[in-house]
């Protein structure tokens, strides 16, 4: 075997690999949130949904022996939490941002509570598909061991883009988000549309959580999500509620998260705390650059409480 080290190439490769490995939860949560927000409601509770999804996926995978059942369970858990959010928000005078924060707390707490006995056991994990067979470089092969959930996420993004634009279903969601009066005039229940949109959003966020516990880092513990769910919600705003931009933003985020450790591995060691905060600094910087006080954000659903 030749020298297996690839020196400084580690950094771009780690950022590339990290973009694939770390981005998947961001991708699912942001796509889910994109659907919810397009319908005119914001769900900050997806952080709780993500953690709850991670826990239930791990638990079901452990009990049933099938990681795919775990993924399904995570999705269903997420959809139920979404229904809870939508249900409370449909009451008069209830603030959706506050309900989101409440569910963030509730979801996280419930996951920690029920997940105690799951910290120790090892559950069956999701398989990876080897896309690096063509390469002789082990690092490249490792970076290209991709989980099918990532591919599903990548496929959902354009699908959603297309669905928002051309399908009746997409039109309904956008109408509910732009003007609830218009949706009502068309004879549709805005609350029902938002309920469905929030449930689908929760379903996707739950699956994002299952990726964390069943693929990467690949086990359940209480530090699993360091705010990925809430960051993904922020990501939707700077992705302008566009599913395709959500995909790129998630990839950029995953890459940024891999930057800190990768730089250290090639000897850039000073200020590692600041490098570790890179994803947050990046988000803030992009938001500062792309937002404008003069006009409402392009693409922002008019009914959305936080942009009004």
């Amino acid at each position: 075997m030749a020298d297996p080290s690839i020196g400084l190439w580690t950094v771009p490769l780690a950022v590339f690999g990290g973009a694939i490995r770390v981005s998947t939860p961001f991708l699912f949560v942001s796509l889910g949130e994109c659907i919810t927000e397009r319908s005119g409601r914001i769900n900050l509770g997806l952080e709780g949904t993500l953690v709850m999804g991670a826990m239930s996926a791990y638990g079901i995978s452990y009990l049933s022996g099938s990681p795919w059942l775990g993924v399904l369970a995570a999705g269903i858990t997420g959809a139920l939490l979404g229904a809870l959010h939508a249900g409370i928000c449909s009451l008069p005078r209830v603030n959706d941002v506050a309900v989101g924060i409440a569910l963030m707390l509730f979801g996280t707490g419930l996951a920690f509570f029920l997940g105690k006995p799951l910290i120790e056991p090892t559950a069956p994990r999701l398989p990876a598909i080897d896309f690096g067979w063509w390469s002789d470089i082990p690092q490249v092969r490792a970076a290209l061991r991709i989980n099918v959930l990532f591919l599903i996420g990548v496929a959902i993004a354009p699908l959603l883009f297309w669905a928002f634009k051309t399908t009746r279903w997409g039109l309904l969601i956008r109408t509910a988000g732009e003007s609830s009066d218009a949706a009502r005039a068309m004879g549709h229940s805005v609350l029902l549309i938002r309920l469905r949109a929030t449930m689908v959003g929760g379903f996707l966020a739950g699956i994002g959580g299952s990726f964390l516990s069943l693929f990467y880092p690949g086990s359940w513990n209480e530090g699993l999500s360091s705010g990925q769910g809430i960051t993904a919600v922020a990501l939707v705003i700077f992705a302008r509620w566009d599913p395709l931009l959500c995909l790129w933003a998630s990839l950029a985020f995953g890459g940024a998260a891999a930057l800190g450790p990768a730089l250290q591995s090639v000897g850039v060691t000073s200020g590692y705390h600041l490098f570790n905060a890179a994803p947050y600094i990046l988000t803030l910087a992009i938001m500062i650059i792309t937002c404008s006080p003069k006009r409402t954000l392009t693409g922002a659903p008019a009914e959305l409480s936080i942009t009004r």
Binding site: I119, S219, G267, S270
Partner: protein, 370 residues
């Protein structure tokens, strides 16, 4: 519903426990029902630091006449002071084990001053003469076990590149990194250890990224010093690298990849403490020890460890266990910037307080402390 009666009954029970507890505290010695309080900073089943302590607490539960109360995920703020007081006031605890480093100063010191008749034992702290006499600090020279791991790692690595996933550049961690590296260079003088600091004690995604980055750099044996090694162990094993464990035995997580590991032996130490108190002896306020004192231990060798490695590691282990002991940090030690950090001719034995201040990485470590 009759809340009144239930409350009164409970209150009476609570009150009785309280009275019994303080009476015990005043007597000081171990009597029929002694309550011992354990406080953990994280989850006690984290496959790591907290689980090691919980295993020690579990060993105490088996002894007769002892009651163990435990509380987990207590932050290192005045919350731990209140937890200690609550264990004393409401549960009657007379011996307390706040097990996280950050509990020591100012929190445990404050409580030890407030309850001078009760005993406080802290893991990791540096008790000094100005601290209260009823407080104690104990710790293990786990770098001895890391040194053994290093030897095994040095023989097992094909690339000669080892990896270390570490939380923060503090003396206890640096000591482990250095001991691991020195051990490895005993087996393979060209071996190097690449270190990555994640920034905090429990950061699973960062730990996984660090593990992958290290393996991308050609590292084929890894170890770590974070609160829960599970993430590193599983992710390294998945990439086909080998691992040395830390805190507790992680071999069930990756039986093929697990070489050996540096473990705490609290389940031996804690019953020893309780027996000392029961016999009326005082536990030294500053209590330290390594393999010989059975405060730390090494995991059984995995199947991948060669006979040569086993023999060399066992030889060194025997030296640690011998009466004259063995110094890891010998005179003439050079750090990775080329500076001599221990002058030639002055070996620094384990108990040397200078080692507690370690702020360098030895030659052979790739990385920096800041």
């Amino acid at each position: 519903m009759d809340f009144g009666r239930i409350s009164r009954r409970h209150l009476l029970q609570g009150g009785a426990a309280l009275a019994a507890g303080s009476a015990l505290g005043l007597r000081g010695a171990m009597a029929a029902e002694t309550t011992i309080g354990f406080i953990y900073v994280g989850s006690r089943d984290d496959y790591g630091y907290n689980q090691a302590h919980a295993q020690g607490a579990a060993a105490l539960k088996k002894l007769p006449g002892l009651k163990v109360v435990e509380e987990e995920k207590v932050p290192e703020t005045d919350a731990v002071e209140k937890t200690i007081e609550s264990m004393i006031n409401l549960d009657g605890a007379s011996l307390l084990f706040p097990t996280s480093f950050g509990y020591y100063n100012p929190h445990m010191i404050k409580m030890a001053n407030k309850f001078p008749k009760l005993r406080f034992e802290h893991c990791g702290g540096l008790w000094s003469e100005k601290d209260p006499k009823n407080a104690g600090s104990y710790f293990g020279y786990i770098d001895e076990a890391q040194y053994i791991s290093g030897i095994v790692a040095g023989y097992s690595s094909k690339s000669g590149k080892l990896g270390f996933v570490a939380a923060k550049p503090i003396p206890q961690v640096l000591r482990n990194i250095n001991a691991f590296t020195l051990g490895a260079r005993l087996a393979n003088p060209k071996a190097t250890t690449q270190v990555i600091f994640t920034g905090d004690w429990s950061m699973p995604v960062k730990e996984a990224e660090a593990t992958n980055s290290l393996i991308d750099q050609g590292v084929d044996v890894l170890t770590c010093h974070v609160d829960g090694p599970k993430t590193m162990v599983e992710n390294a094993a998945r990439r086909g690298a080998m691992v040395c464990g830390y805190h507790v035995n992680q071999s069930p997580l990756a039986p093929k990849a697990y070489l050996t590991g540096a473990e705490w032996n609290w389940e031996a130490l804690y019953p020893k403490f309780v027996k000392m108190i029961a016999a009326g002896e005082t536990i030294p306020n500053f209590y330290r020890g390594g393999l010989k004192e059975e405060i730390v231990k090494t995991s059984p060798y995995g199947e991948a460890v060669s006979a040569e490695a086993r023999k060399h590691a066992d030889d060194i282990k025997a030296k640690f266990l011998s009466a004259e002991g063995y110094a890891i940090f010998k005179g003439g030690l050079v750090d990775n910037k080329g500076k001599t950090v221990i002058a030639a001719g002055t070996d620094r034995g384990q108990k040397d307080p200078e080692l507690e201040k370690m702020d360098y990485l030895v030659e052979g470590v790739l990385g920096a402390t800041s």
